[in-house]
């Protein structure tokens, strides 16, 4: 802890001098003033990454959906609720970030319209039409001053395939993927295990506490970031 603070103080952390923008937690998509659609993200992984990035010397800006977690020790904290809110908040900050880590579990679909009044339950059935939300990761990786862009994937099957597909489809620099519902940690757990891939490589980070895993992932992200930047600078 003292070492980490000294590192950051004297600029020797692996992310010293860099700005890292992190999204965390779930989003909530209102059906009406009372009901909403959400997902099982606790925000723990994103918050652990924010703490680890700060310890590695980065200036961290955290954009978070609703969570029950203690506010982490970061430069800037923004609270948002919906995927649309998160999109606008992230995009307003992306041009000053060197690295973006999209650890939030952004709702993929939201109700087409949210009712202003509580919907009364007169009918035995209700049909909810959902539309796709904006794709924050693709917007970040496609932005003019594109940061090093890290995405997450949580899958119930074909983890490695989906992670590789996501890396390519969204032009990401790195994807960290975890299983859902296999006793391998992930959503709502304190532990997690990750498959991490990038262009030209991959690695497995075995089951560990989210704090320990966040440290390892931040080190890996710093490594890939510096490798890419020195390659670009020497071109």
């Amino acid at each position: 802890r003292i070492c980490a603070e000294l590192d950051s103080l004297f600029g020797t952390g692996v992310l010293a001098g860099l700005s890292v923008l992190i999204s965390a937690g779930p989003t909530r998509e209102p059906i009406d003033p009372v009901r909403y659609i959400s997902n099982r993200s606790s925000g723990k992984m994103g918050y652990a990454l924010a703490e680890a990035a700060a310890r590695a010397g980065a200036k961290v800006s955290l954009v978070t959906g609703p969570t029950a977690l203690k506010v982490p020790n970061v430069q800037e904290l923004s609270r948002v609720e919906t995927a649309e809110d998160m999109y606008h908040c992230v995009m307003s900050k992306v041009s000053s970030a060197n690295i973006y880590i999209g650890a939030a579990a952004v709702a993929d679909y939201c109700p087409e319209t949210a009712a202003n009044r509580k919907i009364k339950k007169n009918r035995p059935e209700m049909v909810l039409t959902l539309r796709k939300t904006r794709d924050i990761l693709s917007a970040v990786s496609g932005s003019a001053e594109r940061p090093f862009t890290v995405g997450f994937a949580a899958e119930t099957d074909q983890l490695e395939d989906y992670a590789r597909q996501k890396l390519a489809a969204k032009s990401l620099d790195l994807v960290a993927a975890n299983w859902v519902g296999r006793g391998q940690g992930g959503f709502e757990n304190d532990d997690n295990a990750l498959f991490v891939c990038w262009n030209g490589g991959h690695t497995y980070l075995p089951l560990a506490s989210k704090t320990a895993l966040a440290e390892q992932l931040i080190r890996l992200i710093a490594e890939r970031y510096h490798a890419q930047n020195s390659a670009q600078n020497s071109r």
Copy 2:
């Protein structure tokens, strides 16, 4: 605090010797292993009622949906997730309860089928068919050894009307109703204000902390319970 504990110890609390079953918090209705539908209940009012009922000398059994709250000081705590889980848990305990307080914000609708695998977001639109969940309050008030049954209502408009309708439609003994989204407390807030009605009467409990309000509501419930029971006994 000490007085309350002495009251309960010597059986002079207003609910001394009675068993109170309380449901609290939201329920979560899975769309797939990751996504769910829920609502904005924090569980605070139900937990405050559980604490207040225990202080009033009752044996309290709390059935709770997922919340981020500290476990309250009660006899028995059961954690559930879906409306269906809550229905079975409550119904298994109802015959031994003198009073049932349905403070949970049970989802009225759940997805007709929950997918076993994470739904991939290939389509720009998604149609979700929801069906009504079981009505726990009506099941409790219609059960053979019916306890004194208290319901809650949270409404964005016509609060008093809806509360009266709910009292009649579900054969309840008392309904406590609060506004949603009017700066009058309620969901996710520490404060709340209530309109309370029963057959032949009503009252308003003005904006106060949920702890203070829970004390007042428990006193009111005890009063109505004892009034009803002495009336029945003297018939």
